[in-house]
Amino acid sequence: MSLTSILLILLGIALLGSFYAKSHVLKMAGSQVTAMHSLPNHHFAYTFLVTLLPSAIVAIIWSLSEQTVIMNLVVGTFPENIQALPADLMSLTMTKFQNFLNGVVFGEPDPWMVASGEAYVSMVSNSRWGATLVSLILAGLGVYWAVSRIEPQFRARNRVETIIKGFLIVCSIVAILTTIGIVVSVLFESIRFFREISIFEFLFGTHWSPMIAMREDQAGSSGSFGAIPLFTGTLLISAIAMSVAIPVGLMSAIYLSEYANQKARSVLKPLLEILAGIPTVVYGFFAALTVAPFLAQNGASLGLDVSTESALAAGIVMGIMIIPFISSLSDDVINSVPQSLRDAAYGLGATRSETIRQVILPAALPGIVGAVLLAVSRAIGETMIVVMAAGVAARLTANPLESVTTVTVQIVKLLIGDQEFDSPKTMAAFALGLTLLVITLCLNIYALHVVRKYREQYD
């Protein structure tokens, strides 16, 4: 039986058992429901959970691990000369066997394959039966256990609540599991990468061309993985983005929070938020279709040689994307500066701009710095704009008119399309991912710390 049908049957059993338990409770209580510790519905829920949870968990784990276990067992049925094959030939044979199981056969299959195939089929059907049987027995035991415990003093509600609380805790642990998953998956591949290419070469090398030849004797077979050009490219584009986003975003925030009247605010703020809601792929297309050709044409008429994949185009558009981010964060920060500071400054005869520049901005500075750092981390991690508008060739340059590449672009280029999971190319992408993760994480932790500390100061 398939997992879905097993689960449906279990659900049915759990519902039937719960209804039985409820009617049992009602019978036992008679006219005095209040004599029971828990309401009939709590007994219903208790029976349901006790029946469904263990059996469903067993069924799911069984189905997930089934394939691996059976495959290991089937290898045991292979003839001895095949089991004695070296590892690489063995994996080839396994692939052949897998194909055979999937019905892809070239010519006449070997007799041992047919025999093991039959063994496989019977094992799968046995396993399915086993899963069905075990989970059904567990479900039955669950119903029996729950119903047998029904009595007026039984604290069904407390038990149900404990189970629900357990579920809530598990859900909040998902966030931690995600972080662990990210760190482990990126770290694991990176360590394997650094075993082949030294970490110093990766971090300080200035030549990036991640092409690995198929055969060892091919010319230029060793790719080089010096990531400095990627780091400088990322920095260049982020710097351009920030030099657009910081002045525009900050001035917008100041205008909105200090000068604009209620009416202007209610129109302008949502418009700024539209900029924040536009998907990055749209910005990328805008950069490639409109901004880059515009810059290239105007550059040519000024006698400048502007590449069609210039860092400038990607940077400007990334800056536009970040404007609302900076302006909304700074807006919050400026608004949380206490009114008394403003009143004091006005009372001393300062003009509005003097108040802003000499009182509010210094007071809000830590918060604004935090916002800018968060924005920088965003710019570094931004992918689609640079994939679509920046170049692929790693070039070590500070000229914004030339094309540069970034860490995220290289991750995408290395991982798109067919890849083998063991090649240094793929692992290099994970090493880049690790670098990206470490940098953005440091920026985020520091920025969040600054913002939080700042908030506490005036709360």
Partner: protein
């Protein structure tokens, strides 16, 4: 006398300083206005460039051509059976008919006709002849789809001033197109092909339905997982968690996850879901899982804010009447916080809908022609489809890309409008 003079000069000094300060004031205000106007101008240019290139994607040119339904090629009995009908040599019918109409006898001329009539014409002819089998042996006038380059010419997007070898259409082809216009054999209709079917190498046949369906399936998975898990986590952290190092850790974790670059989540999906768990590549279920992990922090943070907004008096009243903490939370606090939680979820889903980078990592960049039928079928999603089209060489894909973006933005606007409505309708000030 002396004091009077110095007083006058002091006022003068202050006066002079005041002028300077006032002009500094107005300059500063202008910077502010400049900042906000630059942002608005960017928004306007962005929208304008997308709309102006994308609107033509919703219309297409059709041309009226006579087709001779050659009885030697079309076997009437084959028409009833779809499998046999597919084997009819429609290419010959279309090619012969258009060659006859335009008087193209040379091989090179016939080749040039491929830029005029789309290969979609074969399907359109088949459709017609299956509906009207009695037309076999007749010559029928049919509206068929023009090729992408011809379509661009009719929309006025081909620059005729360019030298012939740098233009997608040569003089001969433009001559033919002009003849069709003169004989009133051209019309512009709504581009229904764009909303049917999947990707194609031919721009005039490329559709967005497969990507839309893929996005829909992916979002269903995301919604189904992220809403319950996010709400449960928020309820625990806000209502039950003791204040200790562990919950602090969870909290810091969630805030950091919200700022982790999305591409890293793609790496996680590739390493864990594809390579360790062996889930299918390009499948909506994997995309949904990755996007769930990505939107979870957003949902948790906004759900916690919604829970915090419920006044403690409600809780106190329920507890005072003897409800257990669990009953208090699930019977009173959560229902009151639900609109806020839903708003946060919709906004999180809108982000997920526009997300591209992590989905590239798990192979959702495949070339998908068929509309996906289930959660494990290979599929694409809207933003990835847009990325793929933007990468294509044919000029006509530019308008498809913008058209796709317009569709995507429509959905985003609809989702955000829903969130705003929900907030307006159910938001309560206590």
């Amino acid at each position: 006398m002396n004091t009077h003079a110095s007083a006058a000069s002091a006022t003068e000094v202050v006066q002079q300083g005041l002028d300077k300060r006032y002009s500094a004031e107005s300059r500063f205000k202008i910077y502010g206005i400049l900042g906000i106007s630059i942002a608005m101008v960017f928004l306007f240019i962005l929208m304008f460039s997308i709309l102006s290139t994308g609107i033509p994607a919703f219309s297409k040119s059709k041309i009226l051509l006579p087709f001779y339904m050659d009885p030697e090629v079309i076997n009437v009995e084959d028409l009833a059976d779809p499998a046999a009908a597919r084997k009819i040599n429609l290419r010959k019918i279309v090619n012969d008919s258009k060659a006859a109409f335009f008087g193209a006898t040379e091989r090179a001329d016939k080749r040039q006709l491929e830029e005029v009539v789309s290969t979609l014409a074969q399907l359109e002819v088949l459709e017609h002849i299956r509906a009207n089998p009695e037309d076999v042996g007749q010559t029928v006038e049919l509206w068929v789809t023009a090729d992408d380059e011809a379509g661009r010419w009719y929309k006025g997007e081909v620059d005729e001033t360019l030298p012939e070898n740098r233009r997608p259409l040569n003089d001969q082809q433009i001559e033919w197109l002009k003849r069709l216009t003169a004989e009133e054999r051209v019309k512009t209709t709504f581009n229904d092909t764009f909303f049917q079917g999947g990707d194609s190498r031919n721009p005039e046949q490329a559709g967005i339905l497969a990507a839309l369906k893929g996005s829909f399936l992916t979002l269903i998975v995301t919604l189904g997982l992220s809403f319950p898990v996010g709400v449960a986590a928020a309820v625990y952290l806000e209502e039950f968690a003791p204040k200790n190092r562990f919950t602090d850790l969870v909290e810091v974790n969630i805030n950091n996850l919200a700022a982790v670059p999305s591409i890293i989540f793609g790496l996680l999906g590739l390493a864990v879901f594809l390579n360790i768990f062996g889930m299918p590549r390009s499948a909506p279920v994997v995309g949904g899982l990755v996007l769930t992990l990505m939107t979870l922090p957003t949902i948790i943070i906004s759900s916690r804010a919604a829970l915090r907004a419920v006044p403690p008096s409600i809780k106190d009243a329920a507890l005072g009447l003897g409800a257990s903490p669990m009953q208090t939370v699930f019977h009173h606090v959560v229902p009151l916080a639900l609109p806020g939680m839903l708003t946060g979820t919709i906004i999180g889903l809108a982000q997920a809908l526009g997300e591209t980078a992590p989905l590239l990592m798990i192979g959702m960049v495949a070339f998908i022609v068929d509309v996906p039928q289930g959660f494990t079928d290979a599929s694409s999603v809207l933003p990835v489809q847009i990325y793929l089209w933007s990468d294509s060489a044919e000029r006509a894909f530019v308008e498809k890309t913008s058209g796709g973006i317009i569709v995507l933005l429509m959905f985003l606007i609809a989702m955000n409008a829903m969130a705003v409505l929900l907030r307006k309708k159910f938001e309560r000030r206590w």
